[in-house]
């Protein structure tokens, strides 16, 4: 700590778990928007990742509120946010946005898309698994072409509703920070937009990586057309995201309001590594350069795969750093602009590094279970030929 801090600013209230929360939510929104590309905008190339994107979104969405629960002193009271919500509370309203997105969009879309598989699996499985699939059919085994056509139509409408819902979900996370008018590091109307685009970037990068990793684990060849298309979308959204962040930066520098000296000092000292080096150079400029290279020069497939993998990992690191710099950075300086504090991450504490790492692994474990229950691989599904036959 240096200079003058008000007593309530010395210790950070929001730690690494609150960094994780927008990061996880962002991955959900991004993965879903990638899935919707295929469904609504008919980008056929990304079809191999459609179901994987949906399951990834679901796995991460289930985990997204857990860091918040760990942060609360009385997590059991969080339910009251649904029972007696206060309209002036941004967080209470977010609970409903979250629930809407989870139940009305994601679960329904996955159910409709998998219904044919669920019915077939319910008919062919025994024991607990059979019971699970039979429960998932809701007692309806009708997979006639007419019923599936209706499913397809309804699924399309759900995705259409899902896109603004995904925008709302992550825009809202940005709003929660952007609406804190007492904090000049957060308070900007650009925050929801920046969060939204960075969410799309991180979600697309995650699905790209997951597709490559799962293909390698299953020892099947990746569809390069699919990979190239996803990389192209990653590049485009990343350019928009970077442009927005630079717009915010230039705006702040030009405005140079009363907080500027303090924030500028922070970026040059305490946030230098995490913001300038990791977020901007390593996590933004490097993957952008790599991705733009693949757009300009035609590399062999193996090289492209490697470049995409490196660019995706760097992107995820960069977006995590961005969340870190927003959440932690916003609490390192005093509202008096006269002092700065430091953040020390605990390890085996309720809000320490260990639970954060565990919460980062958990969605992958959930995704593994989801993939076991609802295999997303089209080529392995015995029902694919028929599904395509209906179109």
């Amino acid at each position: 700590m240096e200079g003058f801090m008000y007593p309530n600013e010395v210790e950070l209230q929001w730690g690494i778990l609150i960094v994780l929360y927008p990061f996880l939510t962002g991955l959900v929104a991004g993965a879903f928007i990638l899935a919707s590309l295929e469904r609504v905008f008919r980008v056929e190339e990304v079809k191999p990742t459609y179901r994987l994107s949906l399951l990834t979104a679901l796995a991460f969405l289930i985990v997204a509120p857990l860091p918040l629960q760990l942060h609360l002193g009385h997590p059991e009271r969080s339910l009251e946010m649904y029972l007696t919500p206060h309209r002036s509370s941004a967080m209470a309203m977010f609970g409903f946005v979250y629930l809407w997105y989870l139940m009305a969009v994601l679960v329904v879309e996955i159910w409709l898309d998998y219904r044919r598989d669920i019915v077939r699996l319910a008919e062919s499985s025994r024991g607990v698994k059979g019971l699970l699939y039979r429960a998932l059919t809701l007692g309806s085994y009708n997979i006639s072409p007419a019923a599936l056509r209706i499913d397809d139509r309804v699924g399309w409408i759900i995705t259409l509703i899902g896109i603004p819902s995904a925008f709302l979900l992550h825009g809202y996370v940005g709003f929660i920070f952007g609406s804190v008018k007492a904090n000049p590091w957060w308070s900007t109307p650009l925050m929801p937009v920046v969060f939204l685009f960075s969410a799309m970037v991180s979600g697309i990068a995650l699905v790209l990586l997951m597709y490559m990793v799962t293909s390698a684990m299953r020892r099947v060849a990746v569809d390069m057309r699919c990979l190239d298309t996803i990389a192209k979308y990653l590049f485009y959204t990343f350019v928009i995201d970077f442009a927005l962040e630079m717009l915010d930066l230039i705006h702040r520098i030009y405005e140079s309001d009363e907080s500027f000296r303090s924030l500028d000092f922070m970026v040059h000292t305490r946030l230098f590594y995490s913001q300038i080096l990791i977020q901007i150079f390593l996590g933004t400029l490097a993957p952008l350069a790599l991705l733009s290279l693949t757009q300009m020069i035609t590399f062999p497939a193996a090289a492209r795969r490697r470049i995409y993998a490196i660019a995706s990992v760097l992107t995820l690191v960069g977006i995590f750093a961005m969340r870190w710099n927003v959440v932690i950075g916003g609490q390192l300086f005093s509202k008096s602009f006269l002092g700065y504090t430091t953040y020390k991450v605990g390890f085996v504490t309720r809000e320490g590094l260990l639970p954060a790492v565990a919460l980062m692994i958990l969605p992958f474990a959930i995704l593994y279970v989801l993939i076991k229950i609802l295999p997303p691989w089209q080529e392995e599904s015995p029902f694919v030929a028929e599904a395509h036959g209906d179109d």
């Binding site: 003058f4 008000y6 007593p7 649904y82 029972l83 007696t84 206060h86 139940m103 329904v108 159910w111 219904r115 059919t137 809701l138 007692g139 309806s140 009708n142 006639s144 007419a146 019923a147 209706i150 309804v154 008096s336």
Partner: protein, 157 residues
Amino acid sequence: MGEFKDIAHLIRLAGVFLLGLIFFLVFRSVTIPKSFGRYGPFRGAALVELSSRPLSFAGHAACENCHPDVAALKANGVHKSLNCESCHGPLAKHADDPGNVKPVLPDVAQLCIRCHSENIAKPAGFPQVNAKEHSGGQACNTCHQPHSPGFDAGGKK
């Protein structure tokens, strides 16, 4: 009829959601206290419960009844806006039974620095000291008269 058969599963799904909604509404009506929201976003009955709890503070009028000399001294000093029980603690029991319940005098070494320890965030005109350097461990009321601190408060400043 055939068309209805093809959307039967969607109706079942809607049914599941409806059941969920009914469960939510029932759960809500069972768990939310009846008086919630009567005056605002809190349990209205809480006000009655709180007001029925025994009083801890007697209020400065009760103090001034029996201690008019202190009240007069305090009325002209810089501490005039402070309530007696801000420093002496809650004394309703003492006010009810002054003969048997004797209040313990506050520990000045702890009490005064609560407000008067040096801090750059305090207004420059507010009296504030670094207690160790200022008194070298002596109790504040060795020199200061707590009920009316200042230079003109008879003997002690």
